[in-house]
Symmetry: C2
Subunit: 128 residues, 2 copies
């Protein structure tokens, strides 16, 4: 995991950095997750998003179960060097485990979270 | 701070939620910050982004010094209810304290973070 670019990142105390995944064409925000140093290095090397699963405490190659990998076209860093933005091509057009294009499918309307996006594929058929 | 929609958010142990601010027209990600329950309630009530400054430990009405307020047009929630996405209209066209449109102005090229966006306004003239 060489690369001084990794040293420039202001990792959290837990050694993580928040990552926003954005569709490179539509500009839609597809998901938000975390990476550690190893997963970010792998993301750069492999060209596909590799996150750090905080719940499972292990590397999480996005799409390893669903097949919905995220091809990474650009990696960007913010002014404080503590947030990463990746521009991706979402394989299968589905980023969310609910079977939707994006994890952000609820919008606040009249004081309630309303679902504004359809399920494109039944999760039962995604995760077998 | 009533509103059951606030109760549906999975706040961190510190009572915060990460917030992504996206330009409602261009789709560009302008910044990333945090909100607590009070700041999110105020954001909804006032129609302009109010963050929680972790460094200063106080409410931070975006633009209070710079004048670069963020009019909030939509508030979205992700599948795990632990990340907020706001669609905004950025007053002044500058979200970053460096005087750039977006805080994400560095891109990884050939193993280095390269600045790919211009400074639109000298920060010295923004923060007087």
């Amino acid at each position: 995991m060489s690369g001084s670019w990794l040293d420039e990142i202001a990792w959290t105390e837990d050694g993580l950095v928040p990552v926003i995944a954005q569709d490179h064409l539509s500009g839609r925000i597809l998901m938000f997750a975390w990476m550690n140093r190893e997963s970010l290095a792998l993301t750069e090397q492999e060209g596909f998003a590799v996150y750090w699963s905080r719940s499972r405490q292990r590397l999480w190659r996005k799409g390893e179960e669903s097949g919905h990998r995220q091809k990474v076209l650009d990696i960007q860093l913010d002014c404080d060097a503590d947030v990463i933005l990746i521009k991706i091509e979402q394989e299968g057009g589905i980023a969310c485990h609910t079977g939707r294009e994006s994890c952000f499918y609820r919008s606040l309307k009249h004081g309630e979270w309303q679902t504004v996006d359809p399920i494109l594929k039944d999760p039962k058929t995604i995760y077998k």
